[in-house]
């Protein structure tokens, strides 16, 4: 543990983490710390914002930066105020699918539409983990959860496609079984001007896996690898062929006017100089 290179980025007094054995959250925290390290970002220039749920605990309180642990579903809205106030800092939201795409889905859409310079790492484990494994808006069709004991009859939200369509500058999706691509995309999200989303498909063997014949973390990771389809290949497949598959890759990477810069342009235009 003491030899772990990323330890310097963590609040060591609050370790060990609350994550369950095999949770993908640790992978995300590790890769995020590596991204910060490789980019040479001073943690004093980072503000981490999260909501409620297991994935909200990935940055908070563990990552040693300014950390705002907010209410359920709202971290992106809180982060909006922070980014306006601190336009020169990296404002990063790390939270889960239930938090950001379920209860907080509207804030996700509108932050993408505004294209505000926030990096969002949305950890999608298909389930409401912290509350005990209830169905989420991302749960695959047919999957068993504590509130879909006969199988899920709803269709999951395609988060990355939705956020790309809403107007984000950068959107990528990887699984925890693609750590190097994930690292590359998180680095890109941090440095991209505008709204950036990295959707991380992450394993929850305890609440999701066990009820869906994927009892351990390795089982789940193998399932991710087997089911993943690169975006380029997916484009040539029919919706039927893509049913139940995880499409991975960069969904969008473009330059688009950023919200806080525009806000400051207005001020520069009308600000009254008293002298």
């Amino acid at each position: 543990m003491s030899k772990y290179r990323m330890l310097k980025y963590l609040r060591q007094e609050v370790l060990p983490t609350t994550m369950c054995l095999g949770c993908g959250g640790g992978t995300v925290l590790n890769i995020f710390a590596n991204a910060v390290d490789e980019l040479g970002i001073d943690p004093k220039d980072l503000v981490m914002v999260s909501g409620i749920g297991c994935s909200a605990w990935i940055p908070s309180p563990y990552f040693k930066a300014d950390t705002l642990h907010t209410t359920h579903g709202r971290p992106i809205a809180f982060a909006t105020g922070i980014k306006v106030g601190l336009p020169d800092k990296y404002v990063v939201v790390i939270s889960g699918d239930g938090d950001l795409a379920g209860i907080g889905g509207n804030h996700l859409l509108h932050a993408a539409r505004r294209n505000i310079d926030i990096a969002v790492i949305l950890v999608n484990n298909f389930i409401h983990g912290m509350t005990g494994g209830q169905v989420a808006p991302t749960t695959p069709f047919g999957a068993k959860t504590t509130t879909t004991p006969y199988g899920n009859i709803e269709h999951p939200l395609n988060i990355s496609e939705t956020v790309a369509a809403a107007g984000a500058s950068y959107v990528a999706r990887w699984t925890t079984a693609n750590p190097f691509m994930l690292l590359k995309s998180i680095k890109k999200a941090l440095t991209k001007k505008g709204f950036a989303l990295v959707e991380v498909i992450s394993q929850c063997p305890v609440q999701f896996g066990q009820r869906n014949k994927l009892r351990s973390a390795p089982d789940m990771l193998r399932w991710f690898l087997k089911n993943s389809v690169p975006l380029k290949k997916a484009m040539k497949m029919s919706p039927e062929e893509l049913e139940g598959k995880i499409v991975i890759g960069e969904f969008i990477d473009r330059e688009r006017v950023e919200f806080v810069e525009e806000l400051n342009k207005i001020i520069r235009g009308v600000y009254v100089n008293a002298d």
Partner: protein, 385 residues
Amino acid sequence: MNRSVLRKLYPKGNYFMQGDEAIAYGAIFAGCKFYAGYPITPASEIAETMARELPKVGGYYVQMEDEIGSIAAIIGASWTGLKSMTATSGPGFSLMQENIGYAIMTETPIVVVDVQRSGPSTGQATKGAQGDFFQARWGTHGDHPAIAISPSSVEECFWTTIDAFNLSEKFRMPIIILADGIIGHMREQIRIPDPEEVEVIERRLPQNEEEAKLPFGGDLIPPMPIFGRGYFTHVTGSTHKETGMRDVYTPSVHDKLVRRLHEKIEKHKKEIVKWEEKFTDDAEILVVSWGVSAKPSLCAVLRARSEGIKAGFFRLKTVHPFPSERISKLSKKVRAIIVPEMNLGQLIIEVQRFVNDDVRLIGVNKIGGVPITSEEVYNAIKEVV
């Protein structure tokens, strides 16, 4: 706030404007630099004025996707050091309640304006009311303190908003302004002062890293280690230790935190609670009112006195905490207390808690969107003469 900028933009003198606009100008004079909101009648004019004026003083207007996002954004902005405000009406105020609790728990200075309208639900969307008296006190869940202040004229909208910012900065908590649709939309003459005449209080910031280590303890009102200064501040709505670190398992940690949140208000009640009273020295009948209903109440008291009736007038400026000691003391000298308000009896419940049983307590309650008239209050006074 750069006083010369204010002087140039808004030279001192008399203006004719709506209550909503006066709230916006009050916010600007108090140093507000961030406003997030969502349109709603009868509060939209506050947003419109802020959108137009804030950039002129170097402030930011953000229209959010809903009221939940609006209050979330102002809390976030406040943690970067910007004085922040949102404004709404009943339905939006209901949506904001969860994050009002978050601001209380995380000791975040913000100002939330509720331009009350007729409810429940969508009710009479364009009509004023005073039905949120208790929502301003108990709207969010759990034990919590609350400060809510209520203007009863357009000019007071300006000064109340400055008070709200000062209280929020001083006590590190959300302050509720309970305006109403009638005052919000009413136009009156108001005097814009020279910025020199406005006392502006700024939050206490840590002077060094040592002071930043206890953002939620140490002092009754701890300094606020805002983000971006390298303090590695941790803020959570969960029960936390003085350092900010979550601890939901130790009963004494929760007890100490929540009692301190109450104590910072209780210990400063004298300084926080403001009211106005007239003719109370010899009053036998006391009219107690607030907000829009205070004007007709005072008119009725003046008319009664011109006829030799010993009527007195008491207006709450601070509705929470309630001026319990003063009401209790005054009630010992009067036969009857009349409480006019545009609801079915909310302030009267609070009054009742602090008066003796032998005092006749009469509500003048009107709903439907039309303000109470002085005639109606006068008739109530005549009934108890």
